[in-house]
C-alpha cells in the first residue's frame, strides 16, 4: 500500500478530523474550523471554507475539529464559537448558522455532528468550564432548534448515592458529608458540566439516540457538587423525535479524576448473559474497560478485562497529589474504537500515562477554566500506549500491541482483517486483526492522531488519515491528510 495523494491544508495545528467521502468527494476539517472539499481519488481541491470565528471562543484542549456530517447536499459543522453551520456541499457556501450556546460561559464545539431524518444532533464541550451539558437537535433545512436534552437534570442529579463504580470497586466517597452539603445547596446543576463532546450513534429502528456524557465540573474538586452528579460519566439513550430520556448507565458517580465517558458509543450485536445475540451498544471507557450494554435498557452485560494498568484506583485527589497509574486522559480517550463483527473483536487505542491528582477548593469562576486542582505526570515513570483487541462476547483481551507513546486518535478495522491506528511519532501502522502483528507502516512526518477512514470510489479502496499532531499531548503538528491505496 502506497500514498495515492496527500492533501495539504493551510492550517498547521492539531488535526482530529475523520475524512468523510460522499460521491467521490472528500470533506475534511482542520483546527480553527476550516473545511476542504477535494477529489477523493486525486486530492484536487474543489473549495475551501473558513469559518469566521467570533471574538469569544472558549476551549480547553486545542482549537480542534473532528469533522462534518452530510445529508442531502448539506454539510454541518460545529464551531469553536459554539455555532452550528450548514454549508452547500457543492460550493462550500454558507447556508445558515445558528448559535448553540454562549461561548462566554465555556460552550464550544469540536465534535462532528450526526445528521439523521432532517435533524442535526450536536452536544457541547465545556466540562472544564462549568457548563450544563446537553444534546440539541436542529432542523437541517432551517437551523431552528427542535429539542434539547440536558445531561444534568434540574432535580434528581444526586442519583442513588452509588458507592461503587460500574465494575464494583469502592470509590471512597464520604456520602454523609455529601448529603449534608446537598441539603445546603442543590442549585449547582447549572454549572455541573457533563459535556457531550463526541458523536452520538443512532438506532433508526427504535428511533433512539445514544451518546456518552463527560465529567462533572469542577474536575477535581467535588465537595461543592455532592451526589452522583447525574448524568455525568454516563451512557444515555434518548428518543430521536422528542429528545425524551429513555435510560442512562453511569460508570463513575461523583467523579473527581476527569475520567469522562467520551469515546463514542458503537452499535453492534452482542451476546447477552444467556448466550443469545441481541442488539448491543458498547463504550470504551477512560477507565480502560470496554463496557457492553443491552441496547434496549442500558443494562451492563459485561465489562472487559482492564486494557491498562489501574494501580491506585480510586485514590482521592489531595492537595499534595495522589498517584494513580490511570492518568486523566484515561485508558481510552476520545479516540473512536472499531469493531470487526466477524471476529467478534473491538479494537481500542490506549494510553498508559501515570499521573498525580491534586485538589484545590475553588468557586465557579464565571466561564473560565475550572479544574479545582491539577494533574501532573509522575517524574521518571514511563508513558506508552497499546492497541488492544477485546472479545465482545467474553470481555477477554485477544491481543495487545504496545506503542512507544500514549495513543490518541482512533482505530479503523476493515473487512480485510486489517486494523489501522496512528501514533504521535508519525507512524501509521496496519495490524493483523487476528494476531496484532504489525503488517505495514508508513511515516507521515507529523503525529497521526486522528481516526483513519476507509472508502471506495469506482471499486478501488482507499485509506485516509490526518497527520496533524495533537495539542493535548503536544505531538508534532502537521497540516496534511494522507490517502493510501494498493
Amino acid at each position: 500500500m502506497r500514498p495515492a495523494f496527500v492533501v495539504q491544508t493551510a492550517v498547521l495545528e492539531s488535526m482530529e478530523t475523520a475524512p468523510l467521502v460522499v460521491n467521490g468527494v472528500m470533506f475534511i476539517t482542520t483546527s480553527y474550523n476550516h473545511v476542504y472539499a477535494v477529489n477523493a481519488t486525486t486530492g484536487e481541491q474543489y473549495w475551501h471554507y473558513k469559518h469566521k470565528i467570533g471574538p469569544v471562543s472558549t476551549y480547553c484542549c486545542g482549537p480542534n475539529n473532528k469533522g462534518v456530517a452530510i445529508s442531502e447536499g448539506k454539510l454541518f459543522m460545529g464551531t469553536l464559537d459554539a455555532k452550528i453551520v450548514a454549508l452547500d456541499a457543492k460550493s462550500g457556501k454558507l447556508l445558515w448558522q445558528t448559535q448553540i450556546a454562549d461561548p462566554e460561559l465555556g460552550y464550544s464545539e469540536t465534535m462532528a455532528p450526526t445528521v439523521v431524518d432532517g435533524k442535526v444532533l450536536i452536544g457541547t464541550n465545556g466540562g472544564e468550564y462549568g457548563v450544563r451539558g446537553f444534546v440539541k437537535a436542529f432542523n437541517a433545512e432551517t437551523g431552528k432548534l427542535d429539542w434539547t436534552f440536558h445531561t444534568i437534570p434540574d432535580k434528581g442529579h444526586e442519583g442513588v448515592w452509588a458507592e461503587n463504580d460500574a465494575t464494583g470497586r469502592n470509590m471512597k466517597r464520604d456520602i454523609p458529608a455529601e448529603k449534608a452539603a446537598l441539603a445546603k445547596n442543590a442549585d449547582f446543576f447549572k454549572t455541573l458540566g457533563g459535556g457531550v463532546w463526541m458523536t452520538p450513534a443512532i438506532d433508526k429502528k427504535t428511533r433512539t439516540v445514544f451518546f456518552v456524557a463527560g465529567n462533572p465540573s469542577p474536575d477535581l474538586y467535588g465537595a461543592e457538587r455532592p451526589g452522583d452528579n447525574l448524568y455525568t460519566n454516563s451512557m444515555i439513550a434518548v428518543d430521536l423525535d422528542s429528545g425524551k430520556y429513555k435510560w442512562h448507565y453511569q460508570y463513575i458517580a461523583h467523579d473527581v479524576w476527569d475520567l469522562d465517558a467520551v469515546s463514542p458509543p458503537i452499535l453492534v450485536d452482542v451476546k447477552n448473559k444467556d448466550g443469545k445475540m441481541i442488539p448491543g451498544v458498547i463504550h470504551g471507557g477512560k477507565t480502560g474497560h470496554i463496557y457492553v450494554h443491552d441496547r434496549s435498557n442500558g443494562n451492563l452485560i459485561r465489562f472487559s478485562e482492564a486494557m491498562v494498568s489501574q494501580e491506585g484506583l480510586w485514590s482521592l485527589p489531595t492537595p499534595k497529589g495522589t498517584r494513580m497509574s490511570l492518568g486523566a486522559n484515561g485508558g481510552v480517550e476520545w479516540s473512536p474504537m472499531a469493531v470487526h463483527p466477524g471476529l467478534r473483536l473491538a479494537f481500542a487505542a490506549n494510553l498508559e500515562q501515570p499521573m498525580t491528582y491534586h485538589v484545590e477548593a475553588s468557586a465557579y469562576p464565571g466561564g473560565k477554566l475550572w479544574l479545582g486542582g491539577a494533574f501532573k505526570n509522575v517524574p521518571g515513570e514511563e508513558q506508552f500506549g497499546n492497541v488492544t483487541a477485546v472479545n465482545l462476547d467474553t470481555g477477554k483481551i485477544a491481543w495487545k500491541a504496545r506503542t512507544p507513546q500514549p495513543m490518541i486518535g482512533g482505530v479503523l478495522a476493515t473487512a480485510g482483517d486489517l486494523v489501522f491506528a496512528g501514533e504521535g511519532n508519525g507512524w501509521l501502522k496496519a495490524y493483523d486483526a487476528k494476531s496484532g502483528k504489525v503488517l505495514w507502516q508508513y511515516q507521515c512526518g507529523a503525529g497521526v492522531n486522528a481516526p483513519p477512514t476507509s472508502y471506495t470510489v469506482d471499486g478501488k479502496q482507499y485509506i485516509a488519515v490526518a497527520a496533524g499532531g495533537n495539542s493535548q499531548l503536544d505531538f508534532k503538528r502537521g497540516n496534511s491528510v494522507f490517502v493510501f491505496a494498493l
Binding site: P365, V378, P379, S471
Partner: protein, 193 residues
C-alpha cells in the same frame, strides 16, 4: 453615477467592510495610553516586574482586567486602574495589545536552568493548557518570552494563594514547585521567545 457619489459610496463601503477588530484596536490604542507608564506604549514593559502584554491573547487580557475590576485578582497598581473600565474598554485594549509585536527581553538565561525548567514543565503538563511553546490559547496566557522576574512573582503568588483567580489549577500546581523549580521554569519560559 457621478464620480463624487461613487467616491462617497466607496468610502462608506470601505468603512463598512473594515473588520470590526481593526476599529477596536484603534480605540484600544487610545485607551491604553494610561498603561504605557508600566507596560510600555506598545505592550513591551519598561521594567521586568511588569508583564509583556504585546502579543498576549486578547481573551486573557480581557478576563484579567475583568477580574481586577470585580476583585477576583488584586494588585495595588492594577485594581484601581481597572475600576473605571467598561467591558468595551477592556475588549478594545485587549485587542490593541494582542495586535502588538512582542519584543525579546534582555534577560540572560542559564542553559542548565532551561533544561531543568523544560523537564519540570513536561512533568507539570504545562502544554496541556498553555499549548506547545507556551503560546497560550483563549484565556490561557501566552508565557513565551516573559521576563523571569514576572513569572517567578506570579508562581510565588499562586503558591501563597495571593493570586487565586485561576479556579484552582495554578494554585494547586504551584504547591508542588520549589523556589528553584520556579526559577528554572522562568528561565525556560523566557528562552522560548
Amino acid at each position: 453615477m457621478n464620480v463624487r457619489f461613487l467616491f462617497i459610496l466607496l468610502i462608506a463601503l470601505s468603512s463598512f467592510l473594515l473588520p470590526a477588530q481593526a476599529q477596536d484596536i484603534e480605540a484600544g490604542k487610545k485607551k491604553a495610553e494610561a498603561c504605557a507608564a508600566c507596560h510600555g506604549a506598545d505592550g513591551n514593559p519598561i521594567a521586568p516586574m511588569f508583564p509583556a502584554l504585546a502579543g498576549q491573547n486578547a481573551r486573557y487580557i480581557y478576563l484579567q482586567l475583568k477580574d481586577y475590576k470585580e476583585g477576583r485578582r488584586k494588585n495595588a497598581l492594577m485594581s484601581p486602574m481597572a475600576t473605571s473600565l467598561s467591558k468595551e474598554d477592556m475588549l478594545d485594549m485587549a485587542s490593541f495589545f494582542n495586535a502588538q509585536k512582542q519584543a525579546k527581553n534582555n534577560f540572560k538565561t542559564d542553559p542548565q536552568r532551561i533544561k531543568a525548567g523544560a523537564a519540570k514543565a513536561e512533568e507539570s503538563l504545562c502544554a496541556m493548557c498553555h499549548m506547545g511553546g507556551m503560546s497560550g490559547q483563549n484565556e490561557i496566557p501566552r508565557l513565551a518570552g516573559q521576563h523571569p522576574d514576572y513569572i517567578i512573582t506570579q508562581l510565588k503568588n499562586f503558591k501563597a494563594r495571593e493570586r487565586n483567580n485561576d479556579a484552582g489549577n495554578m494554585t494547586s500546581l504551584a504547591q508542588t514547585l520549589s523556589e528553584d523549580d520556579m526559577v528554572n521554569l522562568a528561565h525556560w519560559i523566557s528562552n522560548l521567545y
